[in-house]
Amino acid sequence: MTRYRLAFAITGAVAMLFPVYWMVVTAISSSADMRGPGLHLWPTSVRWENLTDPLSKFPYGMWAVNSVFIAVVAVVLTVVINLMAGYAFAKLRFPGRNVLFILIISTLMVPVQVVMVPQFHLVVDFGLIGSDWGVIVPRLAEAFGLFMARQFMMAIPDELIEAAQCDGSSQWRIFRTVVLPLCRPLIAVLVIFTFMWRWNEFAWPLIVLKDPESYTLQVGLLFLKNQYGQDYGSLMAMSLLSMIPMIIVFALFQRHFVEGMARSGIK
């Protein structure tokens, strides 16, 4: 029984991995090989032009720089905002706290597409159309991260904070020296998920960014799809390149991904 179970599990894993494997095969094969007669599931020759050709013809490097900039800045700002707000909503009493928290959490169920037109108008009014900041700023309102931060900080014992208060520490100091060091697992989850969302985001940058030089990788891939048509070699190579950062992050922090996801699922 155990052996059958393992066999099933491995078959499933092979099936799940196959599309990615097929991307790799396509990325290094010539398109004649992929179209030609006879079906083979492995590469018969290696063609590096699939990689070098698009890199020399299109501003792929710029797209990568834009993607990195947007993801990194968005992660830093979002995580700082959410940690601070999480602390306020979990540990500090101030007027309107509960109402504000409920209002913020209720935006969890609002599909982003519902507000895309008004958000677009705002970005136009602020003069941010076509700029990285137009992609970053509206997405700083991230309710899921704020919710996770608050839940996590609720579990920090009040005594720790009160003891620090008796020593005469300011709240800002307590937050930095007492609370944040306890929040490492939380920060890991927030960083990983925010990075993934911003790196993979497509619809919003598609709306905001107009000039091909300013594209992110995801929008750039769509641009390449329209350029290459049926020639999938280069497209798969560029798509693979764009996945590398996510795959590395996933490989390193796999446990956090799975735990974070599971935690979002059981409430």
Binding site: W22, F94, M116, M243
Partner: protein, 294 residues
């Protein structure tokens, strides 16, 4: 007394200061747009600036807009196929990987991997695999003798190819949530069933699945809400085609708002989408509440 009051006042001020950045971005980029979207949906806008007040005309147009109803039907059909598939596949994977086995962690990670790949990259793989003329799926079907399937030139196969990719992406999330829920079922329940001589199948049907009820319900609601917002894979893989046979609510709203520049109309579609998701959230909330009471 005075010191208590000043301490409270100071705590309130600090609290507001800590919450201020979050409150500010939510106020400007979520709450205000949520009010605005109703306002814009009552206007006729083409391009920038030129807005005309038209009352409920956009909503009347929606009611008689064939493409809107097609998009709603496609979204519902896509949801009705992909959500149960993801659910069953996720449960099967969770049951399979809940027992000890060699390399279990690695296998779980592989099942989850597609969830971290971007929608665009997933859609590009899908477009390539399901390419009608030279894609691998049809080439294999050809070898096996099941003939080429018109994944790109006919509506139903095109929708099914989207479902296949959504299954590949969504299976891992359902599996992870089910695995967490399986940990929560008390071991004694299974031991009692085994002592009573229950078969594996009976245990699954009579014990495991009912115990997982709340999780299944949660996953169905999340699945429906997510499918109603599907955009990336549709826009990149089929572009809504052939014809409008894979146009979804959100891709339609996008093309109305940002390709045809009828942003009032797009906002009205957004409001309708909002109402649909709202109803689903309320249903979930009420069912959960009833369950907590019972």
């Amino acid at each position: 007394m005075a010191t208590v009051r000043t301490r409270r006042a100071r705590e309130a001020l600090t609290g507001l200061a800590f919450a201020a950045p979050a409150v500010a971005v939510f106020a400007v980029f979520m709450f205000w747009p949520l009010i605005q979207v109703f306002w814009i949906s009552l206007q006729q806008t083409r391009g920038f600036g030129l807005a005309k007040w038209v009352g409920l005309q956009n909503y009347e147009e929606i009611l008689s807009d064939k493409i809107f109803w097609t998009a709603l039907w496609n979204t519902a059909l896509y949801t009705a196929i992909s959500v149960p598939l993801c659910l069953v596949a996720g449960l099967a994977a969770a049951l399979l990987l809940n027992k000890r086995m060699p390399a279990r962690g690695l296998i779980r990670a592989i099942y989850y991997l597609p969830a971290v790949i971007s929608g665009v990259s997933s859609a590009l793989i899908g477009a390539w695999l399901f390419n009608e003329d030279i894609g691998l799926v049809n080439r294999i079907l050809d070898v096996v003798g099941l003939g080429p399937i018109p994944w790109q030139s006919e509506g139903v196969p095109a929708l099914l190819s989207l479902v296949a990719i959504s299954l590949w992406i969504g299976l891992g999330f359902n599996m992870v949530v089910y695995l967490a829920a399986l940990q929560g079922i008390p071991r004694e329940v299974f031991e009692a069933a085994r002592c009573d001589g229950a078969s594996r199948w009976a245990t699954l049907r009579r014990i495991t699945v009912p115990q997982l009820g709340p999780t299944t319900f949660f996953l169905i609601v999340i699945g429906i809400i997510n499918s109603f917002q599907v955009f990336d894979i549709v826009y990149v893989m089929t572009g809504g085609g052939p014809g409008n046979s894979t146009t979804m609510l959100v891709t339609y709203a996008y093309s109305a708002g940002f390709e045809q520049r009828q942003q009032g109309y797009a906002s009205a579609i957004g409001v309708v989408l909002y109402l649909i998701v709202l109803v689903m959230t309320i249903v979930q909330w009420r069912v959960n509440k009833r369950r907590d009471v019972a």
